[in-house]
Symmetry: C2
Subunit: 450 residues, 2 copies
């Protein structure tokens, strides 16, 4: 593969121009900015790289999905999942340079989307171009699935995937968002948590009362505080009956994978500006908790008077917003029902629940042949053993690909721990960008030979 | 007293014109609207009724206090406590007629302040005028203490009272805010609860995190929810160690007074738009709780994302605002210290407390001769046994008068349960206004003979 890798290195300036073209086209799904223009640009870029393309309408008002296909020497097919939308750039004043201009330096580039995940799209196209230029054709077929709603939770992607399933038939799927760790090892992730977002509302009367009535009149905030305090205790145990019923214990392979994660907790903690993690977690238990445990998080709470000074009011309304991160075998609707039952049993039938959105967890077994391909490719490019993580802490629509399309899935990308995804000054290092591009080429090569 | 009472009835139209003059001058202390003009108007009205007056500067930026004195046949002196400020009229759209215009009907009048408490000021002046007109002079001396900061919590009134104590020397004090109950019985209240307002702040990191980190990163809202849940349980027991230590059990007289309160809980409940009171309280226990028990109320809570839809954030800041209603012998600073100690003992040293304001409780013993005077006067005017309540549920600066000036204090006024104090369409019934005026005359008469 040395010829391919050399081609990638030599053509870096042209690849960076392609990255500039893509990141300088804003595409903020949450604000409906530049979406159609970006979808058209991505179609055009795929065509320039020899892909047949289709622009598929999203479901129920979703943004279009870009489909691309490039036939190779073999009918074996890799599906590349990406998204062309990015997070909003705000707060703008915290950016060193304008978010939709590529700021290029000797060692890194900065712009919204360079890491998440326009950099991945461009790296994948550059790897394909390098193989075609040096070998004449791809050894396998490649398909692209590039959506425009990832940063707003990919609503309705399940229906979309069911409808268009045949178009996206493949043998394995390369996910977006991969990175190297602080020590430079490539990190390969094989799953995502599910998520369920829930609103809790309490209404105790038809109006607020004077707080002198607190002797005898129910307070919506107290009701909500007590209800929440029954969901999770201070030792981080989730108390909802049956919550852990279908949480599988880590397999021996998974435990071995956790043990192989280098001790970088302190670097992570420092990068977050934290004095300590919960319960001073570290080592295997830290990683087990982070990657494999479900959570109940309070995203927000509000009720009554919250301004300056004092107002002696007894509030009749209070609201909290939860997100619950799910591991495989826990369905969002099932957990919502369990929380409902739990609240009822504990005397909180007055707390109204609204299920805002749900996504299932996804996981590819560590024993999958696709994981072996990924490991081999990583060793080829990085010269280091990759860190293989059974499951990410975050969520996304991966289950559409594992469970509906039936594909093994693993991540690959161009990020690093300080790349500030979703934040001001998003950036990538050029060394990671080049290695990430070579990794895609190596994956294609190893997959063809597997 | 029939001559005095007849005079009051016959001169009602002139008295209502005086009420119009006072309520049509706005005086919103919270918004600093019309304060100086109203203080001057009150001075002028007192002078027209023969009072010597002084306009005393408030302490530390407080609004001026109107002092008035009218010597009578005896050096025995009654002090009338009132305030010339009113609550803000907002929300304006809920008023049937403009808040600062007196809307007069056959049976009632409506305007901001007619009940709380410009109606009381005018009724007191009308009673004094009736006695002077029919008897030539007052049988006792009368002093007025009319402040302009009552609706914003009377800050620094303690220092003011200490400084000007000699000026306000008297033998008893008539408080504002009295009313009749649903059954038409006059209600005489002998005390006020104290109050302490406290902010609770939690900060767990220097910025918010992505909610996928909830596995390992502390959440400020969870910390606050757990801390609050240790303060009070769902059976309304306050769990702060030592909180009840100095709460006196009701005396036999107080219990008898509670038992004499007519069963009007359901009317109160309906007027508040409530299905049930806490724990379905009723009867003696309802009134004991309402009038004699301390409370911890959450006035407000806020943290994280509280807008539409979902935002998967792990908040590093959360805040709650409490008000604690205090009974006699509980000092605001002492309770703040106990809550601090409680939180520390329960592992919540990270919850920061800020004492926003505090007022002590005040109570006049039921056995005071002044209470006998009030009872006799009430029987004279209403022909009914009054309801004597040891203590109101609300708070105010009464302790400056009981504890600093050393006076027995009782309420008298022109309100009724639906007079909408502090709310749109504040109103009083003319029948209550006339009886409330006669009550002031009867109090002066009975006091002179006591």
């Amino acid at each position: 593969m040395e010829d391919v890798y050399r081609y990638i290195e030599e053509h870096l300036p042209a690849t960076l121009e392609e990255l500039r073209r893509l990141v300088e086209q804003p595409s903020v799904s949450a604000q409906n900015v530049g979406i159609q223009e970006t979808a058209s640009l991505v179609v055009q870029m795929l065509r320039e790289h020899g892909f047949e393309t289709r622009l598929l309408n999203g479901h129920k008002g979703n943004f279009p999905v870009v489909y691309g296909e490039l036939r190779g020497a073999s009918p074996k097919t890799l599906l590349f999942y990406n998204h062309y939308d990015v997070q909003p750039p705000e707060p703008l004043e915290l950016w060193t340079t304008p978010p939709f201009k590529l700021a290029a330096y000797d060692e890194y580039v900065r712009a919204r989307g360079v890491s998440d995940n326009k950099g991945d799209i461009v790296a994948r196209l550059a790897a394909i171009k390098a193989i075609k230029a040096t070998r004449g054709e791809l050894p396998v077929s490649i398909k692209f699935f590039i959506e425009g709603d990832e940063e707003v939770g990919s609503p309705h992607l399940e229906e979309f995937t069911r409808e268009h399933g045949p178009l996206f038939q493949a043998d394995a799927c390369l996910w977006e968002g991969g990175e190297v760790n602080w020590g430079g090892q490539p990190v390969i992730q094989l799953g995502l948590k599910g998520i369920m977002c829930l609103d809790l509302d309490v209404e105790t009367a038809d109006r607020d009362a004077h707080s002198s009535m607190a002797t005898v009149v129910p307070n919506a905030i107290w009701r909500l505080v007590w209800a929440l305090s029954t969901l999770k205790d201070r030792e981080e145990n989730i108390l909802v009956e049956g919550f852990y019923d279908s949480v599988a214990a880590p397999t021996a392979e998974e435990t071995a994978a956790l043990d192989a994660i280098p001790p970088e907790e302190d670097k992570l903690r420092e990068s977050m500006g934290l004095k300590a993690f919960l319960q001073n977690l570290s080592g295997r238990e830290f990683w087990r908790r982070h990657y494999l445990a479900p959570t109940i998080n309070v995203c927000g709470i509000i009720g009554g008077y919250t301004g300056e000074g004092s107002k002696t009011v007894l509030p009749h309304l209070a609201k909290a917003k939860l997100d619950v991160r799910l591991v495989p075998n826990i369905e969002p609707e099932d957990i919502a029902a369990k929380i409902r039952r739990h609240l009822d049993r504990h005397g909180f039938s007055d707390v109204k629940l609204t299920l805002m959105e749900g996504e299932k967890a996804a996981r590819t077994p560590m024993s999958s042949p696709w994981v072996r391909v990924m490991r081999e490719a990583a060793r080829d490019v990085y010269g280091l053993e990759p860190v293989v993580i059974p499951n990410m802490a975050g969520s996304g629509p991966m289950y559409c690909f594992t469970d509906i399309l039936g594909l093994p899935v693993a991540t690959s990308g161009v990020g690093y721990p300080e790349c500030r995804m979703h934040a001001p000054d998003e950036n990538i290092r050029l060394a990671d960008f080049v290695k990430g591009t070579k990794m895609v080429a190596a994956v294609i090569d190893r997959f063809a030979r597997s």
